[in-house]
């Protein structure tokens, strides 16, 4: 069947369906009753939550730093603050991208914007995992001080050095684990996608889609 034959079939069926109003349940605008999640609603909510939590983290660490005199507490707090500011900046970038997406714009352009936003989010996930591995010791020092007033330095420098080393070692271990578990979680949506994000499969896939979009938009020869 040629494409023009298909067009005739399509129009025949369409004409019949258009004649039967009952085939199209009268489409009503009922946002409140709508249980479906439109594209970007969940992602958008997460981006705004991250913006708020990163902003809050910067403020709280700022308050902590201004109330400390000992350099041994200020140094880890400043490290955490630098990481939080970087994450806050990424959240601002994501919010800006999100607000620029207009679904009424041309399809190729919007799909490319969505893929670029997705790439940005994947990078943030990877960086966040990396930061958690590298900065969990300063985080533990600050949290112990804030919550119970406990001085983790009193445990000894050996504890800190060992845990920093463990954090560094954890990065390749987590990466390898994600690759192995990725297969095991093949059917679990969230598990699989989080692990794909960590190993970079998700990023590679998104880049492939961006390249394919550019290819589709390029004038055919």
């Amino acid at each position: 069947m040629e494409l023009d034959d298909m067009k005739r079939v399509w129009q025949e069926v369409s004409a019949k369906l258009d004649g039967l109003q009952s085939e199209y349940k009268s489409l009503r605008l009922d946002v409140r009753k709508n249980a479906a999640a439109p594209p970007l609603r969940r992602t958008g909510a997460m981006i705004w939550c991250e913006l708020l939590s990163n902003g809050l983290m910067v403020v709280l660490l700022g308050v902590f730093v201004t109330h400390q005199e000992a350099a041994r507490y200020i140094a880890p707090a400043l490290l955490l603050m630098a990481a939080s500011i970087a994450l806050l900046a990424s959240s601002v970038l994501q919010v800006r991208s999100l607000l620029q997406i207009d679904f009424g714009d041309r399809v190729v352009a919007i799909q490319e914007s969505l893929e670029r936003l997705y790439v940005l989010r994947l990078r943030v996930i990877k960086v966040t995992v990396l930061l958690v591995c590298l900065l969990w010791v300063p985080l533990a020092i600050v949290l112990a001080r804030v919550i119970s007033g406990f001085d983790l330095y009193s445990v000894g420098s050996g504890w800190i050095e060992t845990n920093v080393a463990l954090g560094i070692v954890a990065i390749p271990v987590l990466w390898a684990l994600a690759r192995v578990l990725g297969r095991a979680f093949e059917r679990a949506r969230w598990g699989r996608f989080l692990l794909d994000d960590m190993t970079g499969h998700g990023l590679a896939e998104a880049r492939r889609r961006i390249a394919a979009l550019a290819d589709f938009a390029a004038d055919a020869q």
């Binding site: 069947m1 494409l3 067009k7 399509w10 605008l29 009424g104 919007i110 949506r189 055919a220």
Partner: protein
């Protein structure tokens, strides 16, 4: 315009052109709840984007196709749908199967079979080529297809000519996996 009047105007336009929503949902989602979900997603996104609609820049139907296709492609791309709809790439074998099944009994084939073959063809196209073919089947002009997709008219003509000239297998070069995007 008051918010109430704005909503009434939107609802009137939506009712007038609701077939577009159903057609797009029909080619991007399976029947049943998934399709109903997509119809509602499109309707909601149309309403949320209605503020950005400028009649001087585009016809309402052009804008509606853009919103509907953008939502549908995003819907198709989402992980859940990817798992459920993991379509095989359209290659020579797929098209030959469709074409051969039609060629085998050209006269005996009733409309239902032809419709099934048509849907099989559409469902094996990747997201962007599916949009291109849908707009063509909907008898949209090349200019409007180009406006909706954001590619040149020449590109639209070339892609469609390739599909028209090589319907039995050679289209494979223009497709990738169902959820992915096509290449030239």
């Amino acid at each position: 315009m008051t918010p109430r009047k704005r909503q009434q105007r939107f609802e009137a336009l939506l009712r007038e052109h609701q077939r577009i929503v159903y057609k797009v949902a029909g080619v991007y989602a399976h029947a049943g709840a998934d399709r109903e979900d997509l119809v509602q997603e499109i309707a909601e996104r149309l309403w949320r984007s209605f503020d950005s609609f400028d009649a001087r820049r585009a016809k309402f139907t052009t804008w509606m196709y853009r919103v509907a296709l953008n939502v549908a492609i995003s819907h198709l791309r989402s992980a859940k749908r990817y798992a459920a709809e993991h379509l095989e790439p359209l290659d020579d074998v797929h098209l030959d199967t469709v074409a051969d099944s039609i060629a085998a009994q050209p006269d005996a084939m009733d409309r239902e079979e032809r419709v099934t073959a048509l849907h099989a063809f559409i469902r094996r196209l990747d997201a962007l080529n599916r949009a291109l073919v849908l707009l063509y089947l909907e008898d949209r002009s090349y200019a409007e297809i180009a406006e909706v997709l954001g590619i040149s008219e020449t590109n639209v003509a070339t892609k469609l000519n390739r599909i028209k000239q090589k319907p039995r297998g050679q289209v494979g070069a223009a497709q990738t996996e169902g959820v992915g995007y096509g290449t030239r």
